[in-house]
Symmetry: none
Subunit: 419 residues, 2 copies
């Protein structure tokens, strides 16, 4: 059978918008990887009546109910009481858990007095399986009742994540028959609706595996997911679809199961033993920031000059003031000269440069926001792209950095660099 799951987050702080419900994401990821169908997330405050209402509804539409939060020692922590009552279970004081809580305080918080209410955390539903909390005091638990599985996890994300790994995964694996495996197909150079249009027939024809697009920061990701008894079976199901997607989309696919464009570029530069440096105008350091998010990139990325005014383009990158005057700071010629400037100043194999108008205003020459030039030069070659970017300042800047990274990727994989 295929189990359906509802995740109930308990905590008024979520409803006030003080915190974001990362627990639901963490639990969902684990569940989906194990082949369970998460159909609903619900969030409810620290309020017994409304929590009861949520549990009543979840009972009717899910086989497994997983709660996060409300297991702590304070008076508004109501999850165990409410869930136990909803399923006709008593809470029973567990000596072992009480001793563990006291030991935790003695060891980790010797200067802090343990208050009586901490022992409330040792009250657990009769007959439950206890989930040890490796990083906090509130234990989780699981019990079966009325044909349902009820799992309760602590709210603090660190504690919830640790318990998912150590207790929930083993518990659920025993219930699961099928495994879920997936591949993420990363695309740059085509919008979400165009990707979908190219693949619509394929997507709609698929049942297992499934294929779905996600758009983020100017990129598109396709997620291919198969359900099968083994990893091998899942791969056998996915492999013809993967081949078909490759056939349709070609070299706009920059990676399968990779982290990001910058990680792809890092890997390629390392493989080719080449170095890069950058000259950034409108992106103002964003490209360098993204590259240096990656630990260890100093082996292939030498640095960047953020030349945020015309004077700096000449002073620091050696672009001739005459060229800037003649061609304008936002032009193909200046972009290429900036790339050469960065490459020579840093003594790197590849120079990459971005100059453009990020907006919201046009520059004095009247060129509109989104006018950008991205240049790449090596000792022997030079390329320049003039992508059409739009939306707001932030997205234009992200788009510029994406194009710069994509040009490096294309250079190093031997496909058309300028598009």
């Amino acid at each position: 059978m295929s189990y359906t799951v509802e995740i109930i987050g308990v905590g008024t702080e979520l409803l006030l918008g003080n915190t974001v419900n990362t627990d639901a994401q963490d639990v969902s990821q684990v569940l989906c990887d194990l082949g369970f169908n998460v159909h609903f997330h619900t969030v409810v405050g620290d309020n017994a009546e409304r929590l009861n209402n949520a549990v009543d509804i979840a009972k009717k539409r899910a086989d497994i109910i997983i709660t996060t939060g409300g297991l702590g020692p304070t008076y508004d922590d109501l999850t165990k009481q409410t869930l136990a009552e909803a399923f006709g279970k008593k809470l029973i004081f567990n000596e072992d858990v009480a001793n563990q809580i006291m030991a935790f305080f003695a060891k980790r918080l010797p200067t802090m007095k343990m208050t009586e209410n901490n022992l409330q955390q040792a009250q657990l539903p009769e007959g439950c399986i206890i989930f040890d909390n490796g990083v906090g005091t509130a234990p989780g638990c699981a019990f079966e009742a009325e044909g349902k599985h009820i799992l309760m996890l602590p709210g603090p994300p660190r504690e919830c994540r640790a318990m998912l790994k150590s207790c929930v995964e083993p518990y659920l694996k025993k219930l699961s028959e099928a495994e879920i495996h997936s591949h993420n197909i990363h695309i740059f150079g085509l919008g979400e609706s165009a990707v979908e249009e190219n693949l619509r027939e394929l997507m709609q024809s698929l049942k297992n595996p499934t294929l779905a697009p996600y758009a983020k920061d100017g990129e598109v990701m396709l997620r291919l997911t198969a359900k099968a008894r083994t990893k091998e079976e899942a791969e056998t199901l996915m492999s013809p679809v993967l081949a078909k997607v490759h056939e349709v989309l070609g070299d706009i696919i920059y990676g399968i199961d990779t982290h990001s464009l910058e990680h792809t570029v890092f890997k390629l530069l390392t493989e080719h033993n080449l170095t890069v440096s950058a000259a950034e105008s409108c992106t103002g350091g964003l490209l360098s920031k993204r590259l240096t998010d990656i630990p260890g990139i100093s082996n292939v990325f030498k640095g960047s000059i953020v030349a945020y005014n015309k004077q700096s383009k000449s002073l620091l990158l050696g672009v001739s003031p005459e060229l800037i005057k003649e061609k304008h700071a936002v032009s193909r010629e200046v972009a290429l000269a900036m790339a050469d400037g960065a490459r020579l100043k840093f003594d790197s194999d590849i120079g990459i440069a971005i100059t453009g108008i990020a907006g919201p205003e046009s520059d004095h020459s009247g060129q509109p926001p989104g006018t950008v030039f991205v240049a790449l030069t090596t000792k022997d070659h030079s390329f320049c792209r003039t992508p059409h970017l739009f939306h707001d300042r932030e997205r234009i800047r992200i788009g510029c950095a994406n194009h710069a990274l994509d040009m490096i990727r294309r250079l190093l994989t031997g496909v058309n660099v300028e598009l």
Copy 2:
């Protein structure tokens, strides 16, 4: 009357754990600030039947239903159809919206073919108020039916946030009897628990206004919120509390109702008619990126040199190789020399430099991640801070940039720069 609200997030990617439901947080914050009671969040996939089920439940327990997501052009975007049907409304093709979508494509995506399915976004429930989407194509909308208010917002967080501000706030303000006014007090230099400890008695004693702390990216924000019939009344309630907070926290408050540390620095540099330039090592462009997020900053920010290896520190910033050898690249002396280097190369009034170990590994000298030096020099003065930073690479880098910005702020407001 006091309205209760349910927020329904629509999107299978949320149930798969691919994305976290930040929309629910953003909507909740706006609603709470306006005095509405958010009682439930629900998340449901791109599935008409289950969305219907969620809407049926929400109808029974909320006065206002706000959906996020599922307004896009693809076949699995079902929100409008499902909500309209649930409340007995027809979808009607709106010519104006269709024209707007076509104009959006013509202007911003001239090279991209608009596909037919984009016009599906112009189908809207009869009699609804249209919420313009300032940053994307899918409009939102609101309608009243069966005594309920239904609001539909786009899923991409950027579009959702923009629409909350421009359309949802004005719409909901009309429903609310009392006005809510608030001030955001921005703090840098003290952790959330220390801020809370200093202010706990005050916070606990308050009913109206209320005062609550939020921590993010190494900063703390206090939100002071008053409910009153008029703005003046609200201000009268808040003003003594604001004075008290100033008295307790002093110059670690960097702004009231400001955007960010970088906006504060931009304002101060502009007022003093001074320029700054930067030399970045471990932050790799993050400081420059944050400064250049602000339109118009080129008047006061000249640029940055990202010197990501030792060689670049000498080649581009003129730091002597002997000094680097003697004192180590991550040292007070090198940080100060880098600041001078940036200041002289860019010919700016202030030079700011960051060198440190962002991790996750120690460098070869054995200094642990989080060892950082942030230096500021002018023609006449030089300062260096060595903050203790910890957690992960990302947070260490953000912390470095925060300290650099805070040093500029303190220099320009005449308070102790080094802390």
